[in-house]
Symmetry: C2
Subunit: 486 residues, 2 copies
């Protein structure tokens, strides 16, 4: 690909000066080189196009490999459309509903979304919006027809202006936008179409009936295919996303602590990608909101009931992002110019590692609790462990200045039996200024804050467990299901 | 409203036991009270409905008062629909395009978005998608008709399955999703409709021509109304949102620093709402992304050229959120259990206030630069001021432990001339433990980090200034335009 880019660049450069075979070069006047330039231009265009298309196909292929569910969704859309179109080719059905059969096709195209919840939301909104608007438009049409031919267009025009404006405005109200945005759009659409076509077409009632019927046919076809063939549930996706975000949080935290205390850069196991995991957590709000909106429309599936408390996932998500924000601040400690000296960091490294690993064991329990929809039996233990490690870190932090003052003597005693490197460290200890503690102290305070926020997540998940009535897990089972965290 | 709720509750409680006028009470059996219960039920329903409707209307009214532009948008939609419908009532035009005129109405309903950019995006996508799909469908239809009546449905079905699947998949590719999502949907829709109806309707070409014509009529009508009547530009909105977010950042920072050093809670001027301003900054990514997407489609307007570097706003937005994250961490220092003693905080309060006010004067310059699209002449000065204040804070932080050790003597000298309160403070100074510095040191480190991140924002805005070729501002002018920050 890169080669073809160079080629294009070379062609562009050659437009104005051409080296002839005898070694001389010639500068073209626009008229002289016009044909060649057109040829070059076309070549460039073709090369560029081919390159772009290949690049696009590569991207598409990567996407398909990365998430085969998307490919399945596409095939499902194709299938639904083909089924509805074939309906159309069958003469008996076609004779029944006439030209309105195209509404079934239209419904399938517009309504078929990637999750079941989004599809049910759109389907119900479409059917209800069409029905309400159709009924209202017929009513107003009847009133207008009573008013005489002169007033009819005025009444119809005024009603369209009024209703379209009011309905458009209702779409700005958050509660309407979340649940009935599409329905409002369809309401305006149907109302306008019926009131406009009503002026011309005599048989309005059968037309309205056929339109509603075809929309219901299209909707049912979509629902059937979407729920039967590899269904993708918004609720399940939301639950998984929440669990994944928790996993990412733990990964980021562990990588961050490991990198902070890794002075020799010898720890090749630290994955820089893990370190940046919190970023996608911070940007997950929009996806989470839409998933939670759609999940409300879904029937009971898998481990989720119809009235599963999806709103609580907003709270869990918010507390996860709250924690990710703190990890973000922790992350900048790594790249900060002012760093505490190695000797100080060595002293806190063990306890910091303990805090980070107890944080991650708490999040592991949370992930498991979410994935199995059971109360974790080990959670209390993990939290106690986290709290005690945080207390120890606080103690260690408090004793840091004292230990620095008192240590020179003890280290001198140790010197005799120890090697040169350690000697250097103990010498360094005596010269550590108290100010140098500050970067390390900030890091430790942020780490403590992270642990506090993780307890906030625990609290939010506990509330979910209460609302959704999680059963206590049996220990045996938990060990078997051990989900992967990423 | 609350009263009617109570009434409902009272009604519900009364369903099972009724106090008779003579003082006795009677327990109803279901059969006996059935009529009354139905009446009560209906009453409850009516009260509930009325209450809900009133509540809804109040919300809508508040929204309209809060943002009159939304009301104007709604009236514009109504206007566009009425204009298109009136077209329909004119016999000459109706005779020309026949029943296809309904596509003009449909186009207006679906395409009319609140910003000009979104509307141009949808309009161009709709026209292009319809044209491409129509041409392709006609071609395939011709091929199929050559293959004989038996193979025709098979070829048509297969082409729908293939093209619908492929186009649906392309909508998952981020670059396509950002620019051509709606066009892809319309492509599938038109292709399916033409290939299905083509099997029945003989005169395909004039129909296709009429459909395209009506869509263009609808689109032009939308564009005209949207751009002439109080236009709302996505680009302008994005620019304003970015400036507002900067203002919110400065508000939050100032409120946070003020609250941290406000021990006596006497500073009534601190607005708790200001303190929480950073939260809406953190959640603004989705709005920003869609605005930047739509702004690309807009023609030159106001101070923005056609090729204005809208992508750079992503970077500015990201750096603003990066800073907001740090302010979030700073905010938790206020509510933390461990607080540095007053005497310590007093020592740093002045310099911290200086840092926060220089941060906010830098953001003020940035806001002005964004709003006027000119390079600020005072920016270099403001940044120098910020840097020097940060250096002073670092110095003060370093001297903190020493000053605590050395101060008891000097404070004793001062005692003689000072009042009792100060005496207490100076006594306290001698007993301050070094560990107690840590919360304050963390706060100061975070404040320094905030200033570093604000420099990051300055860098991003500078890049924008280079890309969009901002002219240097004249000092006189800047003073006149002074925008409000909120």
């Amino acid at each position: 690909m890169a080669a073809s880019e160079k080629e294009i660049a070379a062609h562009r450069g050659a437009e104005w000066r051409i080296n002839l075979p005898d070694g001389s070069s010639e500068i073209f006047t626009p008229e002289k080189g016009l044909v060649r330039r057109v040829v070059f231009g076309i070549k460039c265009l073709v090369f560029g196009l081919v390159w772009k298309i290949l690049n696009f196909l590569k991207k598409a292929w990567d996407l398909a490999i990365d998430d085969p569910k998307k490919v399945i969704h596409c095939l499902k859309v194709g299938m639904a459309l083909t089924v509805v179109s074939l309906f159309y080719y069958m003469r008996p059905l076609y004779e029944g509903v006439g030209r309105n059969a195209m509404w079934a096709v239209m419904t399938v195209v517009v309504v078929f979304e990637s999750t079941v919840g989004a599809m049910i939301y759109k389907s119900l909104n479409r059917v209800t919006g069409t029905f309400l608007a159709g009924a209202l438009a017929l009513g107003i049409h009847w009133i207008a027809s009573q008013a005489g031919e002169k007033f009819e267009p005025i009444i119809m025009g005024a009603s369209i202006l009024l209703l379209a404006s009011a309905t458009t405005f209702s779409r700005f109200i958050p509660s309407v936008k979340a649940r009935f945005d599409y329905g409002a759009l369809i309401f305006i659409l149907t109302f306008s179409l019926v009131s406009v076509s009503g002026y011309r077409v005599e048989k309005l009632l059968p037309m309205a009936y056929h339109r509603l019927l075809t929309i219901i046919i299209g909707t049912s076809c979509c629902m059937l295919i979407s729920m039967v063939v590899c269904p993708v549930w918004a609720g399940e996706k939301l639950n998984l996303l929440t669990a994944q975000n928790l996993g990412r949080l733990a990964n980021s935290l562990q990588a961050c602590v490991a990198l902070y205390f890794d002075d020799d850069n010898d720890n090749v196991a630290i994955d820089i990608k893990d370190l940046q995991d919190y970023k996608s957590v911070l940007n997950s709000k929009a996806t989470e909101d839409s998933m939670a909106n759609f999940a409300r429309w879904e029937p009971a599936h898998g481990r989720f009931n119809f009235q599963h408390p999806w709103r609580q996932y907003h709270k869990i998500g918010a507390s996860i992002r709250h924690c990710a924000c703190c990890i973000e601040a922790l992350n900048t400690c790594i790249s900060s110019e002012n760093q505490a000296p190695e000797v100080l960091r060595k002293q806190l490294s063990n306890i910091c590692f303990r805090v980070s690993s107890s944080c991650s064991s708490v999040t592991k329990e949370l992930v498991m609790s979410l994935m199995t929809m059971k109360k974790s039996t080990k959670m209390d233990f993990s939290i106690e462990e986290l709290r005690s490690s945080v207390k120890d870190l606080q103690k260690e932090l408090k004793s840091l200045p004292q230990s620095l003052v008192s240590q020179p003597d003890t280290s001198k005693v140790q010197q005799s039996a120890e090697n040169e490197k350690k000697q250097r460290i103990s010498t360094a200890r005596t010269v550590v200024s108290l100010v140098e503690i500050i970067p390390l102290a900030s890091f430790a305070s942020l780490l403590i804050e992270v642990s506090v926020r993780i307890e906030g997540i625990v609290h939010a998940v506990d509330e979910l467990a209460k609302l959704a009535d999680f059963k206590p897990a049996e220990n045996e089972m938990i060990r078997q299901i051990q989900p992967t965290q990423k």
